[in-house]
């Protein structure tokens, strides 16, 4: 009798555990979906959720970099203002990363009416322009800086 009761108890316990596991699984999948949805919303809009949007981090980096730029540029000697312009020109061509991504675009599985070709062409042209600037900018800066010499 007592053995039966014990078995019953063990069985119902197992059932309860299964139920709990099931509930937990359901809850987890809900949670994952909810988080994914929140991240999706949050990723590109200032959501009201508790997670911080990556956009905010980017703005933070941007603002801090402006301050860094402010102090660094004020310390540049006026004699080197022309090389400063050519080197800032060269580094702003890091926009080439966008061009590289665009060149590699592939057609969407369900077709996109050829717009991936527009993107690839735009990317290719941007790649050429940015490359002119990268090579031209750094090399001409190098050439200028090599001319500056101290009194001997």
């Amino acid at each position: 009798m007592s053995e039966v009761t014990a078995r019953n108890a063990a069985e119902s316990a197992r059932e309860a555990a299964d139920l709990a596991l099931q509930a937990a699984n359901t809850a987890e999948s809900y949670a994952v979906e909810a988080i994914a949805a929140a991240a999706d919303v949050g990723a590109h809009a200032l959501g009201m959720g508790s997670t911080i949007d990556p956009f905010v981090f980017r703005v933070a980096i941007f603002v801090l970099a402006i301050f860094v730029g402010y102090y660094v540029v004020w310390s540049v000697t006026p004699a080197l203002h022309t090389p400063l312009m050519s080197v800032t020109n060269a580094i702003s061509s890091v926009i080439v990363v966008g061009a590289l991504l665009a060149v590699g675009v592939e057609e969407l599985p369900d077709g996109d009416g050829g717009s991936h070709w527009v993107a690839r062409l735009a990317g290719f042209l941007a790649l050429i322009l940015a490359s002119v600037n990268i090579f031209g900018g750094f090399l001409v800066t190098e050439r200028m800086l090599a001319m500056y010499r101290k009194k001997d």
Binding site: A65, G69, V72, M85, S86, T88, E106, A126, L127, R143
Partner: protein, 465 residues
């Protein structure tokens, strides 16, 4: 390579770019700074190729071809360009960054999946705003820089182009752009994007044409700043740290340079931007024909005066760049130094057509940079100097900026050349400078005018030494 690792690599690239600018705080550290810049660029490019390697051979071929064509052109230009053409080269480079920003925005609009910002027809609203801002600022930079380039290259006249209702038209286009960005962000209409881009291209032309030749230092700095903000806009679209940091650095750099240039002309930024300065009719004494006597000298006189002086300060200006007189000038200085004359150079911040223009030309002529001084550092020295040798500069020496409140250049910091024992003025004629103001310095007793092309005059002086 994981996304986190890539993000860190982009951050490193951004930090390297900061080092690149930091290096420019002195000529000694400047070259290693430039190498940091190159390394940062290499990191950014290879990281991008590693994390999103193009899946097909065609894309790789396009990348190699694109870098080959662009890099080849860039390298050839960098090697061949004469130093006097540096302002136009910088303007041309700015236009390329601007156009590249527009093209990347186009690519992001047509293939958002490649940039992780949604799918066609369902791009995130914030990304639409970021990409339209990047495209608009890029387009303004593109056409604005082309106008600046044509003015600097002498393809069109440097004189300001002014027409009725100019500011009103600019304002209307500006408002239209803002409204269209809002509509574009909510509709993702390709048509609106293109209209927006075309309006931005137009306004880029309109805001630069009314600005005159000698205000180009401000214009170039301003376009430098714009190219940075455009890059930052694209950086937000791509969520790329290297691009955001660089955009902020370049934007700040250009803004500071514009500020320094405006301050050196004692004009507000808006005064320069609104333009029309230095036109045919500018200046109260522009139309008055002055016929006061001037003391005119020859190359022999100038050579004699300088050889017997204890100290000479040379004040170069745009005229030296135009005449390519820097090498002859250095030769003259070498001869003076042999006669135990102490020689230094005084540079006004807005001398020439871009920030630091004179310094580069002197460096090209192998003038050591510790002989070259900025306005604030050398201005007190003129009173103890025997000879001030002004070559191709005018407005930046005009004492009216200190004494005549009715002068258009009143309040502009100028070099106190009139306090030197003798002022030698190399100039082609008595014509007024860019600001259209007569320079009373020409008529002073201690001034000797040397009427000739700057290069020819300096060569003649060298011959008679």
């Amino acid at each position: 390579m994981s996304a986190n690792l890539a993000a860190i690599a982009y951050l490193v690239a951004g930090v390297f770019f900061i080092f690149a600018l930091r290096g420019l705080s002195s000529p000694a550290s400047s070259r290693s700074g430039n190498h940091f810049g190159m390394a940062g660029m290499a990191i950014a490019v290879f990281t991008t190729l590693l994390i999103s390697a193009p899946g097909n051979f065609g894309a790789w071929a396009m990348i190699i071809l694109g870098v080959g064509i662009g890099g080849g052109i860039g390298a050839i230009i960098a090697r061949r360009i004469p130093m006097t053409a540096m302002p136009q080269l910088i303007a041309a480079f700015h236009s390329l960054v601007g156009l590249a920003a527009v093209l990347v925005a186009v690519a992001a609009l047509y293939a958002p999946q490649a940039f992780g910002i949604g799918s066609p027809g369902a791009i995130y609203g914030a990304s639409l705003i970021e990409m339209s801002l990047g495209a608009v600022i890029g387009a303004v930079t593109f056409t604005g820089s082309i106008v600046a380039f044509t003015k600097l290259q002498g393809l069109v006249s440097g004189a300001p182009v002014v027409f009725p209702n100019q500011h009103l038209i600019n304002l209307i286009i500006g408002v239209a752009i803002v409204v269209l960005i809002a509509i574009f962000a909510s509709t993702e209409s390709h048509l609106i994007f293109w209209v927006l881009t075309i309006l931005a291209l137009v306004i880029g032309v309109l805001i630069i044409i009314p600005i005159g030749g000698a205000d180009m230092p401000v214009v170039i700095s301003m376009l430098n700043s714009y190219s940075g903000w455009a890059a930052a806009g694209i950086g937000f679209t791509l969520g790329n740290t290297a691009l955001i940091i660089t955009g902020a650095l370049v934007g700040a750099s250009g803004a500071i340079l514009s500020y320094i240039m405006c301050k050196a002309m004692n004009r507000s930024f808006f005064n320069v931007i609104l333009g029309g300065f230095g036109g045919e009719v500018a200046g109260p004494s522009g139309g008055v024909v002055e016929r006061r006597p001037v003391k005119q000298g020859s190359a022999e006189d100038a050579a004699f005066v300088m050889k017997n002086a204890g100290s000479v300060i040379i004040v170069p200006g745009y005229g030296m760049a135009v005449a390519q007189a820097q090498h002859a000038l250095r030769e003259m200085v070498d001869k003076l130094k042999k006669e135990n004359v102490s020689v230094s150079y005084a540079i006004h911040p807005v001398a020439g057509r871009m920030p630091g223009h004179m310094n580069v030309l002197l460096a090209e002529a192998q003038v050591p940079y510790d002989d070259v001084f900025e306005l604030d550092d050398i201005n007190s020295m003129f009173a103890q100097t025997d000879v001030a040798f002004v070559i191709g500069a005018n407005d930046v020496t005009n004492p009216a900026a200190k004494t005549d409140p009715s002068s258009p250049i009143y309040g502009m910091p100028v070099l106190d050349v009139e306090r030197a024992g003798t002022v030698l003025f190399v100039k082609r004629s008595l014509a007024s400078g860019y600001a259209g103001v007569d320079n009373e310095l020409f008529y002073r007793d201690n001034t000797m005018m040397l009427f000739a092309d700057a290069k020819k005059m300096v060569e003649d002086i060298v011959k008679s030494m």
